[in-house]
Symmetry: C2
Subunit: 204 residues, 2 copies
DNA sequence: CACTGTGAATTCCTTCACAGCG
DNA sequence: CGCTGTGAAGGAATTCACAGTG
């Protein structure tokens, strides 16, 4: 396909494809058609074919997509073929839940550091990591950490984000209910549970 | 404006507007222009004007939107002018974090019940509520609970969802990394932190 | 005059329909 | 033949440009 800008929405669906292909890998499936994959993911077959085709022709006509190699392809497109180290900032209840959540490893993430500003918490261990003083955030650059998960109170979020960016962080997943002011080169994904829940009553 | 279908995306932005207007209320601002609001929310002014105009003409030409009454309007559009009771299913680390998160109250949510299947946890209190046995989920209907937050392991999510729906739940916010099979009348919002994080390395 | 409200234009994304290939 | 890959069509959301109004 001649080059066309890859839609943002396609990128957002890629991890879904990867999860599906990972599952198929563990089921030892050899091939999967867009039809069958669509049923699993509740998408339309052409959507899947178009999405994947943005990155090249992975499929075999008449048969489908080879599970093994397509999984690898998607992993390398998303740069998840190498272990991605992430720092977790905030070791409160939410941070603790995240630190002990094993779902990240499927995508090759490694929560390589946990920071907090509470003297009580520093030095304690959660999810197998020792909580460090937030003042040591500057060390992430030298530790090969480019991503951060922010699970701090809204008031602290902007300050933490500033420190993280100064320390060389390139992408942030924020769970604080506020907008972060960041340079354009930094990719920020923001999730606010209350806001997501806020749309539900409308549909009642 | 003659009737036009309200875009899904507009609905998704409404809680953002509500949060902004709530803040403006507490700052005792009388009016706000789409221009200024757009700067706060990092949106374009016409976007905001169009979104709000789907629900009627709330603004005053030459001045802007009256903070107090627009906030009330949005609250009633989203059905957040009345207290919305929600059940939390799963009192693990994530559930505990959610139970003690105060951000929901800004939108008028009340976590009115917490369920878990772990005998160890039943009877204990988190976030001011007593954890109930998941077998009592059927009681939500009679307790005026129409919404649920699902924070259980992926394996348990579908079963819980089925029980919730049988009990009369109309909307679900799921934090489990899996697709829920539900009747079309049920609104489901699904958030998978690992998948959200999964897009970040792509942009590095 | 400064703002909102809104058709029209544009951009973006999805779906279709079928050509192309194993 | 059965599937993928893709240009073209269709649909949805955003942005523009300006008419309308307190």
């Amino acid at each position: 396909m001649k080059y066309r800008k890859i839609p943002e929405e396609t990128i957002r669906r890629m991890p879904r494809y990867l999860r599906a292909f990972s599952t198929l890998q563990s089921e030892n499936q050899g091939y999967i058609s867009s039809q069958l994959l669509a049923e699993r993911l509740h998408l339309n077959p052409p959507q899947i074919r178009k999405d994947l085709s943005y990155f090249g022709a992975f499929g075999t006509r008449g048969i489908g997509y080879p599970v093994q190699s397509t999984a690898e392809q998607i992993r390398s497109i998303l740069k998840l073929n190498i272990t991605q180290r992430a720092a977790l900032v905030g070791a409160g209840r939410l941070g603790t839940a995240i630190a002990s959540y094993h779902g990240f490893s499927l995508f090759g993430f490694d929560i390589a550091a946990v920071f907090d500003n509470d003297r009580q918490k520093i030095g304690r261990r959660i999810g197998g990591r020792t909580i460090e003083d937030v003042s040591r955030i500057g060390s992430v650059g030298s530790r090969g950490i480019q991503l951060a998960i922010l699970a701090v109170p809204a008031e602290a979020a902007q300050t933490c984000a500033d420190q993280l960016i100064k320390a060389g962080i390139k992408g942030i997943l924020s769970l604080s209910p506020c907008y972060l002011e960041t340079p354009k080169r930094i990719k920020v994904i923001s999730i606010d549970l209350a806001m997501e829940l806020g749309t539900l009553p409308y549909y009642l």
